[in-house]
């Protein structure tokens, strides 16, 4: 029997979270990945179980059931759905390459639709906060080498970004901060999370109390008196001690997660965090970096901004870009029942969106580009199986801090499965041939 020799590929980028760990060693034989060294538990699962639960053939709904078809027929059906729609939504984009996102914007312009990425239900409020308050930031490399104080606020990287503390913050070996002893860690959360257990100071804030606590910290940093005993469940003495720790550090880095964006206050919370860091820069060096979730959600914002002028929730129905979150955002447009077709790329809104939004999505024709079976692919009109970026297809992605990185192709995709770029390219050609609206 002929056997394929085992191959090891070095410096592979992990395409799960947006930490951008690019030192993985992947050993594979043919199409089978044996191991993913240097990766976290999620990385190992992503690479070594790539073949589990895969979609392998294009599917179209016929007689109420999804049935296998040819690639050309699936593309034709998808193009006709998008061409016919008056207000199609093209959604997802955070788990694919920048090249695919660029194609997605071209397609949205052609069919006259709304394009939104998963930022909308992630760090959308962060972007709105940045637009209001500005952002004092830096790359993760600078944090690794220089930060002597790290704050994780409303995020739990031990679970969501498992190697973040090892590669970039308290456990990393930087040039000027070499060990854990050289750094202090503050964690602010509503639970004593596994990240909080690593902290020098853990501040347990009441749910929905972040804005109050951030404002109290700003008050303390600005030398004003806080006229209360407790703020959002935190004693004023503690608030003042934390403010002092922040002012006394040489280089502070505040990382914040969805604990600020998904709670009451949303973009006002992030604006308060950004303003706190701005205030701190009058007394020391301090930076702020959002803990972006999916590996290319930052790239979705970058590509959308350089091509349309806006980072997410972009309406292109009028022939020019319009950005008005709350109106042109995916969940709002779906809840109002305005969207009449959807193209979902590498995302699963049927699982993750609130019930009222999904109720409408399940009534309209949905086209899905996805490597694995999901509730959204099960409910689709057309399913186009795609290659897993960073495993079976190469492309560009953006890390949490806006640094672009190259995702490698490690193994071939299953026979007949194409990359998102190839599928979207074919769809654009078909839409043009059918006579695009624009």
């Amino acid at each position: 029997m002929r056997t394929t020799p085992k191959t090891t590929l070095q410096d592979v980028l992990c395409t799960f979270c947006a930490s951008g760990c690019d030192n993985l060693e992947i050993t594979y034989e043919g199409r089978v990945i044996d191991s993913a060294r240097n990766g976290c538990a999620i990385s190992v699962s992503r690479f070594t179980t790539a073949d589990r639960s895969r979609l392998l053939k294009p599917l179209v709904r016929k007689g109420g059931k999804l049935r296998p078809t040819t690639f050309a027929r699936a593309i034709d059906r998808a193009a006709r759905i998008l061409n016919r729609a008056k207000y199609p939504l093209l959604y997802g984009w955070s788990q694919t390459s920048c090249e695919a996102i660029s194609k997605g914007i071209e397609l949205t312009e052609l069919v006259g639709g709304l394009i939104d990425n998963t930022t909308t239900s992630c760090h959308g409020p962060t972007i709105l906060g940045v637009q209001d308050a500005g952002e004092a930031t830096c790359t993760l490399g600078e944090v690794r080498h220089s930060a002597d104080l790290v704050v994780y606020w409303g995020c739990n990287p031990v679970h969501s970004h498992p190697r973040h503390t090892n590669r970039y913050t308290v456990f990393s070996e930087g040039r000027f901060r070499r060990t854990r002893k050289d750094r202090k860690l503050i964690v602010v959360d509503v639970r004593k999370t596994d990240t909080a257990k690593l902290a020098d100071r853990f501040i347990q804030v009441e749910p929905n109390g972040d804005y109050e606590l951030l404002t109290a910290l700003r008050t303390a940093v600005n030398g004003e008196e806080i006229e209360q005993d407790t703020i959002a469940g935190v004693r004023v003495e503690t608030v003042e001690e934390i403010a002092e720790m922040m002012m006394e550090c040489e280089f502070g880095a505040l990382f914040f997660g969805l604990g600020l964006t998904m709670t009451s206050g949303k973009h006002r919370n992030t604006e308060a965090a950004l303003a706190l860091v701005k205030d701190l820069n009058y007394v020391t060096k301090f930076v702020i970096v959002p803990m972006r979730g999916w590996f290319n959600v930052a790239g979705a914002n970058e590509v959308s901004t350089w091509q349309t002028g806006y980072p997410y929730a972009v309406d292109l129905t009028q022939g020019y870009p319009k950005f008005n979150p709350g109106d042109t955002s995916a969940i709002d447009a779906m809840t109002r029942g305005e969207v009449d077709a959807a193209l979902v790329v590498a995302s699963d809104p049927v699982s993750h969106f609130p019930r009222e939004a999904v109720k409408h999505l399940l009534k309209i024709p949905v086209i899905v580009l996805e490597p694995k079976r999901t509730p959204t692919s099960e409910a689709a009109e057309v399913v186009l199986p795609s290659a897993m970026l960073g495993v079976e297809a190469a492309g560009t992605i953006y890390r949490i801090d806006g640094v672009p990185l190259e995702a490698k192709k490690v193994i071939d995709p299953p026979l007949g499965v194409r990359s998102d770029v190839e599928i979207l390219d074919a769809m654009i050609k078909r839409v043009k041939k059918l006579g695009a609206r624009r």
Partner: protein, 140 residues
């Protein structure tokens, strides 16, 4: 209050604030496939503070009904290992958690997926719905 006393007193509902979020086991099992048993075991879970579990009188692994003003869902109760978080219930992101949240985005595009008031009650006899059933409930 001791666990057996709480159970015999029948304190079957508590008020909590629900937060949804990422968990390591949810992320790992997602890669195995959303229809895998590992995924539903990791995601259809409600993590409660040990004191809240005692007060509720629920056993680790017993099913509970979580209700908000937007919807309800049956989940497997689990004693939190990331405690204390008194009166805060943690549910991993996913189809089950999304049954509990509304669509208002307050002009941000972002619905409130953390910090929603809820009640948790024991529902040992109720069954945790699978993903197909959750999709059907969402369609209704």
């Amino acid at each position: 209050m001791c666990y057996f006393a709480a159970r015999s007193l029948g304190m079957s509902a508590i008020e909590v604030t629900v937060i949804s979020g990422r968990s390591l086991s949810q992320a790992r099992s997602r890669e195995l496939g959303k229809f895998s048993e590992e995924y539903s075991r990791s995601v259809a879970v409600c993590e409660l503070d040990p004191d809240d579990m005692k007060e509720l009188g629920a056993l680790d692994g017993e099913n509970v009904r979580v209700k908000t003003r937007f919807g309800e869902v049956i989940l497997r109760a689990s004693v939190s290992r990331q405690a204390p978080h008194k009166r805060v219930a943690f549910i991993p992101y996913g189809a089950w958690a999304s049954m509990l949240f509304g669509t208002a985005t307050h002009t941000s595009g972002m619905p409130t997926l953390k910090g929603v008031k809820a009640t948790v009650e024991r529902a040992a006899e109720a069954k945790v719905a699978n993903l197909h059933e959750i999709t059907r409930m969402k369609a209704e």
